[in-house]
């Protein structure tokens, strides 16, 4: 039996899209690679983050802000539907600066975004070290300042995913774990998607498999220029609440553990452990919040972000095979609300590429020389 949509990828992007499609009455099949309904929690801080988004693309600044605004009611609706409290808070966020260069870089970014128009800088502003410490008594003396944005927040990504999956199940979505997609075959009236465990047909297919999408894109005329960027994360033992706002790289969970990031490496698909990165994460954290010094690291790991060359999302409907879409981004949590509430409905209408022109991968095409 064919569905209206096959979504390849059951992570935060695929699940959010399925939510929106199901709400609009479409029938959905979700093909997930492993039993990985819980894989998104590995690398994800659960930041619903606005302040650093869209320097160089006003549409992305707008899109992130829109999602942040919608998240509160989105979280409520997930709670109402499933009884799961996804832990959404929106107290505002701080990116702390230890070095003058960092401070200047943020300051310059704010100015640039201000000049972009639209939502401009999303109310992001620089504050002094003393102002930071007044807001956050546990921030230490080495912090010289920070960029603050009142719209930043957090959510529990695992619970969000669980809620989305539960809603999908109640809406009778066909969720298939352990169905790694091998090929997509365009056929008359739609697409046939071949997995290890059987084939599925649908009128439309969405590639939302993160770093796994790129290989499949070729089957349906989609170029998906995303690649892996590695980040190392540390999780600590539990401690009492330390912060009034959300700190960008120091994220205290609801349980009281503290997650620390955020490094960047280009090492392909290698999720090995690099002690130097862990040292950097820990060093940054204790410089910013000296009280963390005596706290124990319980676990550390590396995970892969999905990165486009400019870091902005890539959304596209295939020209060669209309009805095939690629939806990729590294902010699956922040954008979950707009993915469910704005992007998903757009998949049911014509004109997708016009609507999301700014996010087209054509922006990476090298202009032809004369």
């Amino acid at each position: 039996m064919a569905s209206d949509f096959i979504i390849i990828g059951g992570g935060l992007v695929g699940s959010a899209l399925s939510h929106g499609l199901l709400k609009a009455g479409a029938s959905v099949t979700i093909l997930d690679e492993g039993d990985v309904a819980f894989r998104a929690s590995r690398g994800n801080f659960g930041l619903v983050w606005v302040q650093s988004k869209g320097d160089g693309m006003a549409e992305y600044a707008q899109w992130s802000r829109e999602s942040s605004e919608l998240w509160t009611s989105f979280a409520e609706s997930l709670g109402d539907a499933t009884g799961i409290n996804v832990g959404h808070h929106r107290p505002g966020g701080l990116e702390l600066c230890l070095e003058p260069e960092e401070y200047e870089a943020y300051e310059t970014s704010i100015k640039r975004m201000h000049n972009q128009g639209g939502v401009s800088d999303n109310d992001r502003r620089m504050i002094s070290g003393d102002e930071v410490r007044a807001m956050e008594p546990n921030v230490g003396p080495e912090v010289i300042g920070a960029s603050f944005c009142p719209h930043d927040g957090i959510v529990n990504p695992l619970l969000t995913l669980r809620a989305l999956h539960r809603i999908a199940a109640s809406a009778r979505a066909d969720y298939r774990p352990d169905h790694r997609v091998e090929r997509i075959i365009p056929e008359h009236g739609g697409f046939r998607v071949i997995t290890r465990s059987g084939s599925f047909s649908a009128a439309k297919v969405i590639l939302a498999a993160g770093n796994g999408s790129a290989a499949l894109g070729a089957d349906v005329g989609l170029t998906i220029p995303v690649g892996p960027e590695r980040g190392h994360i540390i999780v600590t033992e539990r401690t009492r609440p330390l912060f009034n706002h959300v700190l960008g790289q120091i994220r205290q969970t609801d349980e009281g553990t503290v997650m620390l990031g955020a490094t960047k490496e280009s090492v392909g698909f290698d999720t090995g452990f690099n002690p130097e990165m862990i040292r950097k994460v820990a060093s940054n954290a204790v410089r910013k919040v000296p009280a963390l010094k005596g706290l124990r690291m319980i676990r550390s790991w590396s995970a892969l972000r999905i990165m486009s060359p400019d870091g902005f999302p890539v959304y596209q409907e295939s020209d060669d095979h209309p009805g095939a879409y690629s939806i990729s981004c590294h902010s699956g949590v922040t954008l979950a609300a707009v993915h469910a509430l704005k992007l998903a409905p757009a998949l049911l209408e014509p004109g997708f590429n016009t609507r999301f022109a700014a996010f087209s991968p054509r922006r990476f095409d090298v202009p032809e020389t004369e």
């Binding site: 033992e237 912060f243 009034n244 959300v246 609801d254 009280a291 005596g294 706290l295």
Partner: protein, 105 residues
Amino acid sequence: MFQRLSDPMRKPVRFRFEDQEIEAREGDSVAAALLAAGIGSLKDAPVSGTARGPYCMMGVCFECLVEIDGAGHQQACLAPVRAGMEVRRQPAARDIGVPVGGDGR
């Protein structure tokens, strides 16, 4: 709870647990010394806060976690007693830093 066998050769070592003075012997682990002093619970469980006591006495169960001289998360069964040590129970969540209202989590 626990008692000492006859022990004529070892020197006494005095330290404090919470506000109690404990007399141990040189070479005791902190956990063994506290058990001998009748103290059966050293920490609170992280989720429910209920009292926990040492289970393995060899460093794998982490139920004997205490704070020693201000440093938390010390395994009492591996730490040898030292004169003048200040030992405190480990609460369910470490109490580092300054308490805040905490909407940042």
